[in-house]
Symmetry: C2
Subunit: 423 residues, 2 copies
Amino acid sequence: MPDRKTSTEVLVVGGGMAGLAGALALRANGAEVTLVERAPEFGEVGAGLQMAPNASRVLKRWGLLGKALEIGVRPKHLVFRDALTGEELTRQTLGGEFEERYGAPYVVIHRSDLHRILLEACQDAGVRLANDVVVEKVETVNHRGVAHTSSGDIYEADVVIGADGLKSTLRAAVAQDGPVSSSYVAYRGTVPITPETPAADLEDVVVYLGPDCHLVQYPLRKGELLNTVAVFKSPSFERGEEQYGGVDELEAAYKDCIPAVQLALRNLATGIRWPMYDRDPIENWIHGRLVLMGDAAHPMLQYLAQGACQALEDAAVLQDSTVGSVFNDDGVDTAAWDRAISDFNSARGARTARVQRTARVWGESWHVSGVARVLRNLLFKSRKDGDFQYNDWLYGQEDDGVPAVPADGTGEMRTVSLAGTHA
Amino acid sequence: MPDRKTSTEVLVVGGGMAGLAGALALRANGAEVTLVERAPEFGEVGAGLQMAPNASRVLKRWGLLGKALEIGVRPKHLVFRDALTGEELTRQTLGGEFEERYGAPYVVIHRSDLHRILLEACQDAGVRLANDVVVEKVETVNHRGVAHTSSGDIYEADVVIGADGLKSTLRAAVAQDGPVSSSYVAYRGTVPITPETPAADLEDVVVYLGPDCHLVQYPLRKGELLNTVAVFKSPSFERGEEQYGGVDELEAAYKDCIPAVQLALRNLATGIRWPMYDRDPIENWIHGRLVLMGDAAHPMLQYLAQGACQALEDAAVLQDSTVGSVFNDDGVDTAAWDRAISDFNSARGARTARVQRTARVWGESWHVSGVARVLRNLLFKSRKDGDFQYNDWLYGQEDDGVPAVPADGTGEMRTVSLAGTHA
């Protein structure tokens, strides 16, 4: 019989953004939290990350927004341009009315910086952190989650949070699905901003929309670095090849774009390609005392820049679902756990499904050509800066720092959205 | 040597809308006009026709608007609906501000009724009309147009107006092109309105937009008849078959549409199918003393409902280009003809090319599916009744009854249009 190495109130499986945020949220409610990560060290790969107000509001609640703003950048505008002409299609000013409406700033930050802020907060809060732990399966025995690791160890907790990402092992308990390839591939890069860097749009998040491709640029690290992401449809994927999206395809994908876009490709690190995946939404994230969160529960395409944001929302709602019931003055109320994770799942399921679906359609609208491009450009140009009809459902409105997720879980009072009309 | 049967100042070849309007316009300037038509009788096939204000203004100039209104209908609104859901996408109220802005009403009328009004006006004005005359070729000899007919006769005139339609024979003098098939086929029908006719939208022009299909309905003859046009993409055309667009394809094309649309198919006369053609725009319509007008010069797809309207505009501009120069108190100034037809061509070329091109893109936007449909519907719904930004260039503004075609020939002061952004 294997050694019961660890017994804890909450076991979090996965040390990415979602796992750290979930651990922090439950620790903030007074739980004894253990977080295990399969990698030998904690860390994040990738480049920049956009934190919309629905996410920065969560950092604000935890007192971490100041740290994020110390290292991150508040872009002045979000600007969409046509990649074939450079024409501006629409823009949103991100300070002033925008920030007031949503109760927190729009922040761009290096993924590794946000990850470190969350990791340090977990450490400071007393979350127990362990590396090199690969959880293979979680059972529920006598209202306790029992986690079996690849080394034969067993962790036991009142609840196990499955935050093991897109390729989640634990998701197998609730769904027999797999990642869905979008046929798009990303390259990313972060380069120093120098006097030679073209000065246009350097304080903005700029998205160039092209046929079957787009390019995103924004500053990082107080404006010292320029972050670039190029995403394009891979012809070799369409042909069914296993290795797809090489650098040759990258160059070819942007050949009709304006020089500013083509020059920006030089800022990419071409050593790593990032095939873009999501999964279809699923309703149930719970199996016994295992509950999924973050990408394990609702992996999404990056077009709304909401992957990490929704993980932070998850954590905030998990905190709200457990405060005062699961954890109260009499200690941990284990009988309340079932209700708490069910409330969490209910509050988050429809909303994250909407974000997943909207991200797909929104991305499609970026990559159109022909008459669809004409229609897209006219639609975007018909929108005025400060028209929040497409933002409210996603970024919510300030409500004392709580993510604006109403009872039905789907969003705000305004219902106009790409997803809404696509249904 | 053949008999020089007829010498005249103006010879119009073709007795459709364009030829009759052109003959009437030049006769109004005092010219001796002979019109020849290949068919044994004058007449029009087809069902209803939409006269936008840019066309009804021309009838008003000629004192014929009253007759058109006696037999036609002034629809209350132009309404676009999604054919899959029935959802209203946008509407334009056609009375009041619309009519004031453009100086004439929007009128729907049976093609044969409008044709008869123009024919009678030509007869009353003293245009010489001849049937069974097939003009095969026009030469220019000593500044006179010489028209050779299939029966060996020769007509001679200061100018020959080539108004012989989409399949124009005379166009060969200026272009070696042919009709371009759009792969779409139309069926039309006109049925009596009875108490059993569904009452919705009966006073409006309603356009249902579906994937690869659309359906148009409006009242005719003072509201006694219901006019229906169904237009769909033919799969057998796409497969390269010569006979395409049969009734089986008609039924199949609308299978996903709402019941109101499917029921409306019963109102079609399925004995005649109308393959939809246009041609690419050409700049020059002049060869010696031959000048093209109407469909012979600029055949267009029907999506803007501007085929007959542009023919009427042609006639009005032809009238303006010749008044006081070609015809003056001293009689016909034959030396001024070259300048007059050149002015006409210049004034009309860019504008009709824009209408031809816009009709193509506009039609494409009607038939989209997937994300393009989402974008189209959002764009249409973002438009408010009374927003004239997409209409002004086409319908012009009142200018003492003259079609609003400015010096550059392309349209009005506002330049936002599907065509404008597609360029």
